[in-house]
């Protein structure tokens, strides 16, 4: 029998290891998700101690007898101050409904503003914020019944709109009259609903999936099944991968290249120069009929009409050479050799 395909027993033996690992990973993921509470740390989050967080404001408000309720799903707003940090994420109709029920509402930088304005310290110039005095404002300007700080803070009825949230952050709360302004805006009532919109609020809008007929959602699921089946079709190999037994092959010149790099790194110019000189002497000796090892300078001088001393200096000089001198030396050795070959 030549068959080597696995039967059910061998498949189970091979698969139980990966299966066990998969189960462990799944279990760990579930446990971690359950144990990990909601994270703290967004900008303008009353629990956050980071510079862009708002723990300081929340603390001040509590000291002044205001109950701060952080929520991501504002429903009980009756008789409270509603503070919306990201009004743009909420459906406008819902926002209008909420601010109608709340005793007063503070919106932070809703779109669209009238125009952009640099962030900076401004004087209030209106009775609304006279108690606070100068404060860090800017961002956008708005239109309203009462307007302060060059129209970056306006109030229409019970709805107050502010163009920049710096006064609520831990970083800027202690500047100028920021703290007083924040308290006067958010501390108007005994209860403050601090509304940080979540994905649940946005789903109240119609999303793309709402627009697809119900039947096609199941169609999409079936499409998933089809994709999995196609993947199974493509993934199944016709027999295993065959490894290639590769022989040991090394580039033969590698040791020579390595030695060249060593010369270079240690700036062994003098050593390299003596090697090059020796090579030139070895090549020239048989051309000139000089026994190997003997000084060919005189013979070269005789043939090329160069002075003996300069030839000998070129071929034998023991003076140390630097990197630049080495390149020049190689060139002049070549020139000498060419001259001898032509002579």
């Amino acid at each position: 029998m030549t068959a080597v395909s696995p039967d059910a027993g061998r498949i189970w033996t091979a698969a139980r290891g990966p299966l066990l690992i998969g189960v462990i990973i799944l279990f760990a993921a579930v446990v971690i998700t359950l144990l990990r509470g909601s994270g703290e740390g967004g900008a303008l989050d009353p629990r956050s101690f980071r510079p862009e967080g708002s723990h300081a404001v929340a603390r001040l408000l509590e000291q002044n007898g205001v109950r701060v309720e952080l929520t991501d799903n504002a429903s009980a707003v009756d008789g409270a101050t509603l503070f919306v940090t990201q009004p743009n994420l909420i459906d406008p109709r819902r926002l209008a409904d909420l601010s109608g029920r709340a005793s007063s509402t503070v919106l932070l930088a809703p779109s669209p503003g009238l125009r952009r304005l640099e962030v900076g310290t401004r004087q209030p110039g209106c009775p609304l914020a006279d108690g606070a005095g100068a404060a860090t404002t800017g961002g956008f300007t708005y239109e309203g019944e009462q307007s302060c700080y060059d129209s970056t803070l306006v109030r229409t009825g019970t709805v107050t709109t502010i163009g920049y949230g710096g006064i609520f952050t831990n970083r800027d709360i202690d500047e100028e009259g920021n703290a007083a302004l924040a308290l006067s805006l958010l501390g108007q009532h005994e209860r403050l609903v601090w509304y940080v919109p979540s994905a649940a609020d946005r789903s109240q809008q119609k999303s793309l999936t709402d627009l697809v007929p119900d039947g096609w959602k199941y169609g999409a699921l079936q499409l998933g099944v089809a994709v999995v089946l196609l993947a199974v079709w493509r993934a199944r190999r016709l027999g295993r991968v065959v490894p290639e037994p590769l022989p040991v092959v090394v580039r033969a010149a590698e040791t020579v290249e390595g030695r060249a790099r060593l010369y270079r790194r240690s700036h062994a110019a003098s050593h390299a120069a003596s090697v090059l000189r020796q090579a030139t002497r070895d090549r020239l000796a048989p051309l000139l009929g000089v026994p190997p090892g003997d000084d060919p300078s005189e013979e070269i001088a005789r043939r090329t009409s160069r002075p003996v001393t300069s030839v000998r200096a070129l071929l034998y000089d023991r003076e140390p050479v630097d990197d630049r001198g080495l390149v020049a030396l190689a060139a002049s050795l070549d020139a000498l050799e060419n001259e001898v070959r032509k002579a």
């Binding site: 030549t2 068959a3 199941y218 295993r240 065959v242 092959v249 060249a260 070895d282």
Partner: protein, 429 residues
């Protein structure tokens, strides 16, 4: 088990069925159930792959780079089998098309032919034969593998055989079998024969002519029945890849090529060849080698990353070669030789004539000629140092009466053969 593209296609069609007719979980489940049923039916009715039997026939050796055919016979004892068969080989076996459609009737057999074109020297072994047997619906297939062993030995390519005709011509000239203007250059006295017009008068044997009615000349022939021991170094230096006309090849392959050319020539010259591949121990040994046997012995040899044991190699040569012979050592001139081979030379040189053939590296020569910037000059110095080392070794070897052939990979086989012929002409064997 394996699915086919049709299973996925059916599921895709199911998207419309679910979307338009059955938009519910139940719809998806019903379709999936149907698909599972089809797959089960297909698997049940597909021909079995486990009980197939296989046998092979065809080529067992081929020259590297040339095509050969291996047949695979499938015998099917069960139901009719339709599907795909893959005969898997390692990539270097160079199978032209390793998967074929098969249709084997119940109880019948089929012979499938696979063309191989090995890319690399050595033993190429067959891996598994895998069969995928489709069911009648073509949705699912049974799949299974079988081990059907077979080995195709890819022989050394012997590229240098193109040099053989001119070398044989020279050998014949040496032999006197071909008329030439120069006097037959043989060195061994062969026989006496009657003078014919055109013979060199200097070859007349006067003493014999005096005893005979005719003028008699001496004839000469080159030495024959000499022993040539080829020692191939398969240790670390032979692994070095050197670029030649055929691309980068390990020194070992070039050395093999040279050894083959030398053996072909020497066997024509009626010398006896003894082949030995050595690294730390004997890797291959062919006494009284002929070319086909030699080629078979060389094919599976690969370089090993160990130091060449010169002492072991020399003692092996001394043990085997009884009478005086030409020992050709195919290795690389490396500084390590000074401590390995040189101290052993006196023992070897008194009894045999040693010829060292070495593959030199064109890359080193190119580096030695490098000029221009600092990097190139340092590379040139390093290369010159290596070349000087080789020259010094050559001189040292020559002092011990050793012949050295140090040539580029493309020239080495020819250079070695030429040296052999000139040694023969000089009667030094």
């Amino acid at each position: 088990m394996a699915l086919t593209g049709r299973a996925g296609l059916l599921a895709l069609i199911g998207v419309f069925v679910v979307g338009l007719l059955l938009p519910s979980w139940q719809g998806i489940l019903v379709l999936f159930g149907l698909l599972v049923l089809c797959v089960a039916v297909d698997l049940l009715l597909a021909g079995g792959v486990r009980r197939l039997t296989f046998s092979r026939a065809g080529a067992t050796s081929v020259r590297t780079g040339e095509p050969c055919v291996v047949q695979l016979t499938v015998h099917n004892p069960g139901r009719r089998l339709r599907g795909v068969l893959r005969d898997a080989w390692a990539p270097s076996a160079g199978v032209v098309a390793d998967r074929v459609a098969v249709d084997v009737p119940a109880g019948g057999s089929r012979v499938l032919s696979f063309e191989l074109r090995p890319l690399r020297r050595g033993d190429r072994t067959a891996d598994r034969v895998t069969v995928r047997s489709h069911g009648p619906l073509g949705i699912a297939a049974r799949q299974g593998s079988h081990v059907v062993p077979w080995i195709v030995r890819a022989l050394p390519p012997f590229h240098s055989r193109r040099h053989l005709p001119p070398l044989l011509e020279r050998l014949r000239e040496l032999d006197g079998r071909r008329a030439s203007l120069i006097r037959g250059a043989g060195t061994e006295f062969d026989s006496l024969r009657a003078y014919v017009i055109g013979d060199d008068v200097r070859s007349i044997d006067w003493r014999a002519s005096a005893r005979s009615p005719d003028v008699v000349v001496r004839t000469w022939r080159p030495e024959r029945d000499r022993q040539v021991t080829i020692v191939l170094d398969t240790a670390r230096t032979s692994a070095g890849r050197v670029d030649g006309a055929l691309g980068g090849l390990p020194r070992l392959d070039t050395a093999m090529d040279a050894a083959l050319l030398l053996s072909a020539l020497a066997s024509q010259a009626r010398d006896q060849i003894d082949f030995l591949a050595f690294s730390q121990q004997v890797r291959a040994s062919v006494p009284r080698a002929t070319l086909p046997v030699l080629v078979q012995a060389m094919a599976p040899l690969e370089a090993e990353l160990v130091e060449f044991d010169a002492r072991g190699a020399v003692s092996e040569v001394l043990r085997r070669a009884g009478r005086r012979s030409l020992v050709v050592l195919l290795t690389s001139l490396e500084p390590s030789m000074e401590h390995g081979l040189l101290p052993l030379l006196p023992a070897l040189a008194t009894r045999h004539h040693l010829l060292v053939a070495s593959v030199s590296d064109p890359a080193v020569h190119a580096m030695a000629a490098g000029r221009g910037d600092l990097e190139a000059v340092y590379a040139a110095a390093a290369a010159e140092r290596t070349l000087a080392e080789r020259r010094r070794l050559t001189a040292l070897l020559a002092r011990h009466g050793v012949d050295v052939v140090d040539a580029l990979p493309d020239d080495l086989p020819r250079a070695l053969a030429d040296r052999y012929l000139s040694l023969k002409a000089a009667g030094k064997l």
